[in-house]
C-alpha cells in the first residue's frame, strides 16, 4: 500500500461511474409515472371490485390496458432503480450483489408477468 501514489489510491473510488445515468433514469421514469399514476389509479380503481366478466370487458378496451401495461413497465423499472439505491445504502459486500440481482430479477419478472396477463386479457 505504501508504494501506491495518492492518485492511484483514489482512482476509481469516486461516485463518477454510472451514477449520472442512474440518476437520469430515475428522473425520466419519475416524470413518466407522474402522468401514468393518476391515470392508472382511476382506471384500475374503476375495474377493481367488478365481476370477472366486467374486469375482462374493461381491460379488453385499449386505453385502460395500455395505461396498465405502461404503468407496470415503467413502475417496476423505477422500483428496481430505487431499491438498488436502498440496498447499496444498507447492505454491503456479497450480500449486496445478491440482493440487487434478486430484486432486479423480481422487478423484471413481475413486469413480464403483468404484461403477459394484460396482453392476454386485451387481445
Amino acid at each position: 500500500m505504501a508504494y501506491l501514489t495518492d492518485r492511484k489510491r483514489a482512482l476509481g473510488m469516486g461516485s463518477a461511474k454510472s451514477g449520472t445515468a442512474h440518476f437520469w433514469a430515475m428522473k425520466v421514469s419519475s416524470v413518466a409515472l407522474l402522468i401514468l399514476i393518476p391515470l392508472f389509479v382511476f382506471t384500475f380503481g374503476a375495474a377493481l371490485g367488478g365481476t370477472y366478466e366486467e374486469v375482462l370487458a374493461y381491460y379488453a378496451k385499449p386505453f385502460p390496458a395500455i395505461i396498465a401495461a405502461l404503468t407496470l413497465t415503467v413502475g417496476f423499472k423505477h422500483f428496481n432503480d430505487g431499491v438498488q439505491v436502498l440496498i447499496e445504502d444498507y447492505v454491503h459486500g456479497l450480500a449486496q450483489k445478491i440482493a440487487i440481482i434478486l430484486m432486479t430479477c423480481l422487478s423484471y419478472g413481475a413486469a413480464a408477468v403483468g404484461l403477459f396477463a394484460i396482453a392476454r386479457i386485451a387481445l
Binding site: 500500500m1 508504494y3 501506491l4 501514489t5 416524470v31 407522474l34 374486469v55 417496476f76 436502498l86 396477463a117
Partner: protein, 127 residues
C-alpha cells in the same frame, strides 16, 4: 506520500446524533413508501394474472384484494403512492436548484404530507 491517516478521521454527525427533523423524516418516508409499494404492485400483478387465467383463479386473487385485509393494504398503498408522488415532485423541483432553503423545503414537506391525505380521501371517495 501515500501513508495518510486512513481510519482515525473525525466523522460528521449521523442519524443517531441529529434530532428528527421534518426534512429528514419526509425523506425517509419517501424511501419507505416507495419500497413498501412492492407489496401492492405484486398483488396487482397477481390480480391481472388471475384474471388472464381462469374465473376460479380470479375469484381467489380478487377475493383476497377486496377482503378487509386486502382493502387495508391497498388503502395504505394508495396513501403511500400519493405521498411518494408529491415527495417526488419536490425532488424534481430540488433537482433544478429551487426550494433548497430550509423554510421552503419544510413547507413542501408539509404540503406532501397533507396533500397525500387529501388526495387519498378524494381518490377513495371517487373509486
Amino acid at each position: 506520500m501515500a501513508d495518510v491517516n486512513r481510519g482515525n478521521r473525525p466523522l460528521s454527525p449521523h442519524l443517531t446524533i441529529y434530532r428528527p427533523q421534518l426534512t429528514s423524516m419526509s425523506s425517509i418516508l419517501t424511501r419507505i413508501t416507495g419500497n413498501a409499494m412492492l407489496v401492492a404492485a405484486l398483488l396487482i400483478v397477481w390480480w391481472f394474472l388471475a384474471a388472464a387465467t381462469s374465473p376460479e383463479a380470479f375469484a381467489t386473487a380478487n377475493g383476497f384484494i377486496t377482503s378487509w385485509f386486502g382493502d387495508l393494504v391497498m388503502f395504505f398503498s394508495l396513501l403511500g403512492l400519493w405521498y411518494h408522488t408529491l415527495a417526488g415532485i419536490r425532488h424534481l423541483i430540488w433537482d433544478n436548484g429551487y426550494g433548497l432553503d430550509i423554510p421552503t423545503a419544510e413547507k413542501m414537506g408539509w404540503a406532501a404530507l397533507v396533500g397525500s391525505v387529501v388526495l387519498t380521501i378524494i381518490t377513495a371517495l371517487i373509486i
